[in-house]
């Protein structure tokens, strides 16, 4: 077990180096001079541009910039933005927002998804099952942007049930609506998975035995069916948490939530290499770590995987 974890962590380092290099090259390949564009259509004076290019080492070859970045990284320095702020500070400021948002969305997914899936599975073929199927299909097919803006306009501005934007009202009020919008997509998958799982489990011999024994239906479903149906859903949910943390760019923008997704978006628009590399690498590391955790979790839950 320990050896496996160590090997996976070693893989992480390789992936990390590769990803940072690729992103560096991509940022470098973007057309246009980010410093010249800093002032928008009111250009900065040429000497200011020259000075800033030198200050942020944009006049160096890309590999030298990359090595400089890695060198800084070894000393715990994630670099600075074109306005001279520390990238690490900016990320530290924004991670809590994204994590809160992702966890809230995840919570909604778990609760509603499992519940809907359970209902659909228990009543497979009935009207409620079909309604849930239709509902989840429709919800998943609406683009996230459209869903976000409509939810904001109707539930936020018109009905005033939720704040329109910002984190001013704190958790949970400020996070519920954006989290629900993100959750809709994972929700559909969770519900479908859960439904399939429940249907399968209900057909198993041991459930029949339990019923034959005269166990109350509530206990059959609540304890036995739920437990064995949960394994595939749990795996999915764990991976999805990684997606949620990285997939909040659009929703953070629409709802004006100052999270890392928004930071990444702004940085890409400004061609701000250190921020882009820092944020996207962090997102990838988070994703890799959740994957690792899922693997470990799976082997704990299912002994067959352990001896592979």
């Amino acid at each position: 077990m320990t050896r496996r974890v160590a090997r996976r962590l070693a893989d992480l380092v390789v992936v990390f180096l590769g990803v940072t290099l690729i992103i560096h090259l991509m940022v470098f390949a973007l057309p246009g001079d980010p410093i010249a564009a800093l002032g928008g259509d009111r250009p900065l004076a040429p000497n200011v541009v020259a000075e800033l290019r030198e200050r942020y080492h944009l006049d160096e070859p890309v590999l030298q910039q990359y090595l400089r970045y890695l060198g800084g990284l070894l000393q715990g320095d994630l670099g600075t933005t074109f306005q001279g702020q520390s990238v690490a500070d900016r990320m530290a400021l924004r991670w809590p927002v994204t994590i809160t948002l992702a966890l809230t969305a995840w919570g909604i997914e778990v609760l509603l998804g499992v519940l809907l899936g359970l209902v659909a599975g228990l009543r497979a073929g009935a009207v409620s099952d079909r309604l849930i199927l239709a509902g989840t299909v429709v919800a998943t097919s609406i683009p996230v942007f459209v869903l976000a803006v409509s939810a904001q306009l109707w539930l936020g501005a018109r009905l005033s049930w939720f704040p329109v934007a910002g984190t001013g009202e704190g958790w949970p009020t400020a996070y519920l609506l954006p989290a629900a919008v993100i959750a809709v997509f994972g929700l559909a998958s969770v519900a479908r998975l859960m439904r399939g799982s429940v249907v399968d489990t209900l057909r198993t011999d041991y459930v029949r035995t339990l019923r034959a024994k005269g166990l109350r239906e509530r206990q059959v479903v609540g304890v036995h069916v739920m437990r064995s149906s949960a394994i595939p859903v749990l795996t999915f949910l764990a991976i999805d948490l990684g997606y949620l943390l990285g997939g909040t760019v659009v929703v953070e923008g629409v709802f004006n939530l100052p999270g890392v997704g928004q930071l990444l978006f702004q940085a890409i628009r400004a061609h701000e290499g250190p921020t882009i590399v820092g944020v996207s690498t962090a997102l990838i590391v988070v994703f890799l770590l959740t994957n690792l955790l899922v693997d470990l979790l799976a082997s704990v839950l299912d002994p067959r995987i352990r001896h592979e």
Binding site: G39, P43, Q85, N256, Q266
Partner: protein
């Protein structure tokens, strides 16, 4: 600028907030219960990151609340003195600035002539690369602080001299009668900073200390609302509200929706919402004349655009009225001159028939010039809400001139800027300028003087035009100067290098708490003179 955003128009469009001088303050103030009782207002802004006047590019709103400029230009283009008591010169080259007595920074230290001179020297110091340092380029000695190579040998500009506690002289590189306008509210690099700022600029950015009507109460934290309160020792006109909160938004559309919901009091209208703003807000939509003008830049290096008749034809084939209705909800003004109408002395109508829609005459002119070979390929910066405008222009050129025309966006501003500067374009392109001070000088220099501010906005650099502009600069009398600048436009009209499109406006929407939103010559709301609704 969207962030955005950096929002493109954010940089250009943003001027704002200020000290409610004169008329507005008086009409709202005297004997008025609302004004006396104060109140608070919240304003949607782009997150400044840089709050320091010499460095900010999107924090005009905040800057104009926290600092006071030497001079103020109101919505009618009238110049008055604010932090300065007078700014005078005999020869338009050496100016004597006399400050008002008794003014203090928010930390209690007095605002003196030395404060201004020290600030300006620090801002102009090349190696510090302050983003707005170019605003000081006209002062003698600026070049010494910004040598082409190596470190500057001095830290002071030869053109600045303190002559008393409250007086200093500014010597310019050459005569420039527009100097008093150049120290008005939009030119934030001219704002004074206290001695503590010059010692630690990072700390100053976190806690800005100005000389204006509002003091920042806490520390600035990225993406957090910035709270300001009226400064009790402020010597200028008393603001009509007690506090202003600046709330950062990355998406201006979100801010707009938030005003609809009544969660925030004022937001600027994003391009995508202009057509519906009037229906959404009715009388709570304010549209202010701004010192911005857009052109359709033409690639004068391409031989197909050499014939002036081709340029006239393109201009006359564009139906500015219809585009204004469809794209801008009728809120812009079709351009009739080469500088924005708000700039004093602009000869409105000088463009005449060539700025009026006449598809038949356009076609006839193009035929007369021998037609057009190939495609008119319009190039503009993508991701900035400009798509509708340029697609509409391309459609009209195609329909009215019988020439294939397409509009292609760049991936972002940086790419557009580089492609345009390198001249790798063979079709019309995005070209606009928002002046930071409302003088024909600023717009004409940017478009028609090499190195004047907007590289390759058109580019059309003729020696005699540059000389005419320099001649107008030398006029000390404002009216004579305005006439001289108008004469420059007559000369430009002869060559018609590129069709002017629109005089720009900035539009704002307010919540029901706001009864009246005043403005100034820079086209942004003057939040310090805002009138709140009763009971708000």
């Amino acid at each position: 600028m969207n962030p955005r955003q950096r929002r493109l128009t954010g940089t250009a469009a943003a001027l704002a907030l200020a000290v409610g001088l004169s008329a507005c303050g008086a009409s709202a103030g005297a004997g008025d219960d609302d004004a006396a009782s104060g109140g608070s207002i919240s304003v949607a802004v782009t997150d400044p990151i840089q709050t320091v006047p010499a460095r900010q590019t999107v924090a005009y709103d905040l800057n104009m609340a926290v600092w006071s400029p030497l001079t103020w230009v109101d919505a009618d283009g009238e110049l008055s003195y604010l932090a300065a008591e007078s700014i005078e010169s005999d020869d338009a080259t050496t100016w004597t600035v006399t400050l008002r007595d008794g003014w203090t920074f928010h930390d209690g230290t007095p605002v003196t002539a030395q404060s201004y001179v020290d600030t300006w020297n620090a801002v102009a110091y090349g190696p510090d690369a302050y983003e707005n340092s170019g605003q000081l380029a006209g002062i003698a000695g600026y070049d010494d602080l910004n040598p082409a190579k190596g470190e500057p040998k001095t830290t002071e500009m030869s053109g600045l001299e303190v002559t008393g506690d409250l007086t200093f002289t500014v010597t310019l590189d050459g005569p420039d009668g527009q100097f008093p306008l150049q120290v008005s509210q939009g030119q934030t690099a001219m704002y004074p900073m206290p001695a503590s700022a010059l010692e630690d600029m990072d700390a100053y950015n976190t806690h800005p200390v100005g000389n204006g009507p509002f003091a920042v109460t806490g520390d600035y934290v990225e993406n957090e609302p910035i709270e300001t309160e009226s400064y009790t020792d402020y010597q200028g006109p008393e603001p009509t509200v007690d506090s202003i909160t600046f709330v950062p938004y990355t998406d201006t559309t979100t801010a707009y929706t938030d005003v609809q919901a009544g969660n925030i009091d004022v937001a600027s209208v994003p391009a995508a919402r202009l057509p519906q703003a009037s229906a959404d807000f009715g009388e709570r939509l304010y549209t202010f004349e701004a010192a911005g003008i857009s052109y359709l830049g033409l690639p004068l290096w391409d031989e197909r655009y050499q014939d002036v008749r081709v340029r006239h034809a393109i201009s006359m084939a564009i139906d500015r009225e219809t585009i204004n209705e469809v794209v801008y909800g009728g809120l812009f003004t079709p351009a009739t001159a080469f500088t924005p109408a708000v700039e004093a002395g602009t000869p409105e109508g000088i463009c005449g028939e060539f700025c009026e829609y006449d598809p038949e005459a356009a076609q006839a002119l193009l035929d007369e010039a021998g037609g057009f070979d190939g495609t008119i390929d319009i190039y503009y910066p993508g991701g900035n809400g400009l798509d509708e405008l340029y697609k509409a222009i391309a459609n009209q050129l195609r329909q009215n001139l019988g020439v294939e025309a397409v509009a292609t966006p760049s991936s972002d501003w940086a790419e557009f800027s580089e492609t345009r500067t390198n001249g790798d374009i063979d079709g019309p392109f995005f070209s606009r300028w928002g002046a930071l001070y409302p003088s024909q000088q600023n717009t004409l220099r940017s478009f028609y003087v090499e190195g004047g501010g907007c590289p390759n906005c058109i580019p059309y650099y003729e020696e005699d035009v540059a000389n005419l502009i320099a001649g107008a600069d030398a006029e000390a009398d404002p009216e004579a100067a305005a006439e001289a600048y108008a004469a420059v436009q007559e000369r430009i009209f002869e060559d018609f290098p590129a069709p002017p499109l629109f005089f720009e406006t900035y539009s704002y929407v307010t919540s029901e708490r706001v009864a009246e939103l005043p403005t100034s010559a820079v086209g942004n709301p003057t939040f310090t003179a805002v009138v709140l609704a009763e009971g708000a």
